[in-house]
Subunit: 354 residues, 2 copies
């Protein structure tokens, strides 16, 4: 009996040491900005949670609460900071009221496109600067998925000059809204549920939402004629937030699993948006042939760029860290865009497929 | 004693069942096409192996052998098929001699760019068709990293017409080489080590390699004047190959870890190439200001497209599966490119940064 007991004890020790990890299970609670069954964005957290659970053999579970549960779609930052949730999935620029510098980690007008943005995060100063912003709040922030290049919006009249923007009633939130205000647009920020009716009834003349994949379910293509290419969110990256204390409780292997699951889910979201935008845009054109794609004329683009530069310069002057982030993105764009121009841009321009 | 023994036995059972996995360690042997310390490509397998080891708490190790060890850089397919290695990292189009249909899973002239290619793999028919090609050989194939849009090559004279291509001596391998042959180019495939000297001495007039990140160490910018944008490999995806028997021996959690580690390492390679191409291209222009970026004129592009179409039509006629793959990519490109055109292409064209 003693011999058998020793054998069992030895087997037990061997089993634990060959694993190198304690056999404890962990459940992290995640609050997301999005509602239940939210396409693409909600699928991203599900994808992440599924990968984490499968890779950990069930030891790491993520329990996802949507906005109908926690009732604070734009309060994820606080929920995670206060430890009411261990994690969040949201967008950094929603919190620019509390932390103005949070904005730059989502996207800025005339900024980086998706692969350039990831390159800035992972190979230049992006991750380091983002951590500088979130560390004082006891939070870790990671890229959480890219929406791709967002569209400039649905318009009921053509925009041929800056004068056409004056007095235009448009739904466009955030920094883009500030830029549009500078150009004389009457900016409003209606809740999503009211947008279709407002555009149909002429309460607003234009609506900016995301891009074909997420615009399609909103139905704007049924009532607006012009779909303008974007300038304001060239590669919007949403965000995973983690409470630092919750993170530190995880053993090293589960931290690695969580880090990689978030990274992969983020990339996957960019690819899913690419796919679903293609599908939705081709359906829009087929079902509503009157929908016309337009680009803003150079005069309008130049005015938007000038207003963007002015607002960024003001932000940089007010805050040392804002200046550091703005300059870092600016310098990085200057370098990487030269490559984008001679590769994808030159290639896409060399073949007519319109 | 009996009671203690029982307790130990119960603890042991509990420990194993709460893990849901056996505590066995696995080492997979990977053969890669690339030599030791190969930038980007070699870093991709190291990145993958590191993620797998960390996420598994050391239970899954990947031992990487470079070409100096296994001596078969273009024989990875056989090494993995025969079970001499469990895994490989290589490019599908290297094996078009043995399996002509392998080619389409890397890239084709005038085909998909990187995000479009991933969307085809993961959201359209790409993965399924690739598996159809590799299954008869007892292999699993996964995307292994994207080089981004490759450049058209280094030229010592300007190409202003199709006539300028006639008799031109150029190093350009694979399908692009066949297209160039159709246009009268004298195609040669010199080994990498001889390219610089051949271009310098005029043994060849032009050399196509990859793009700035991998061209920089080759030094072509020091001796060639014109750097042409590409048409032939718009989003080349390299490949992880796995022997099916080796895969089936892994428990479910390690299969999940390996699958996600490969997927992430592939995306990471695309982002690393984006970054390093930007860095290398800006250094080339700074150090050698005579280097001039060019695009092939429409007449030349049209001739290349026509030759590409002809060769693809011939391949489709010969083989039913080839036809299925070619049509699938063609249809997918037609849809997704409409989106790329109104998003990234329109955006990049709206702002002058050259």
């Amino acid at each position: 009996m003693t011999r058998l007991f020793r054998m069992a004890a030895i087997t037990l020790l061997f089993s634990v040491s060959s694993l190198g990890v304690a056999a404890e299970n962990y459940t992290l609670r995640l609050a997301q900005t999005w509602g239940p069954n939210s396409p693409i964005l909600g699928e991203t957290t599900e994808n992440m949670a599924k990968m984490a659970e499968e890779m950990s053999g069930g030891r790491l579970k993520i329990r996802i609460d949507s906005s109908n549960k926690h009732k604070a779609p734009f309060g994820i930052f606080d929920l995670v900071r206060n430890g009411q949730y261990d994690m969040g999935h949201t967008a950094s620029y929603y919190y620019k009221g509390t932390i103005p510098n949070a904005m730059y980690f989502t996207t800025i007008p005339f900024g980086l496109i998706a692969p350039e943005m990831y390159a800035w995060f992972y190979h230049d100063e992006g991750m380091e600067l983002m951590q500088k912003v979130y560390e004082p709040f006891g939070l870790l922030s990671f890229p959480g998925g890219n929406t791709g290049n967002q569209m400039g919006g649905w318009f009921n009249k053509e925009i041929n000059s800056v004068a056409d923007l004056k007095g235009l009633k448009m739904r466009t939130p955030g920094f883009a809204g500030e830029v549009m205000s500078e150009l004389g647009v009457a900016v409003t920020n209606l809740p999503p549920g009211e947008l279709y009716t407002a555009l149909e009834r002429g309460t607003v003349d234009a609506v900016e939402w995301v891009g074909p994949a997420l615009d399609f379910p909103m139905g704007f293509h049924q009532i607006a004629k012009y779909y303008y290419s974007g300038w304001q969110e060239p590669g919007a990256e949403v965000q995973f937030l983690i409470n630092e204390k919750a993170w530190n409780k995880l053993p090293a292997d589960l931290q690695a699993i969580l880090r990689v699951a978030m990274r992969t889910a983020a990339y996957d979201m960019y690819i899913q948006t690419t796919h679903e935008s293609g599908v939705a845009w081709s359906r829009m054109k087929e079902d509503y042939p009157q929908v016309t794609h337009k680009t803003f004329p150079p005069e309008v683009i130049d005015a938007m760029r000038e207003a963007t530069r002015k607002l960024l310069a003001e932000a940089a002057e007010k805050d040392e860290l804002a200046k550091e982030i703005i300059n870092s993105q600016h310098d990085y764009l200057k370098q990487v865009r030269q490559w984008t121009n001679i590769s994808d841009k030159a290639y896409l321009n060399s073949i007519a497929t319109d």
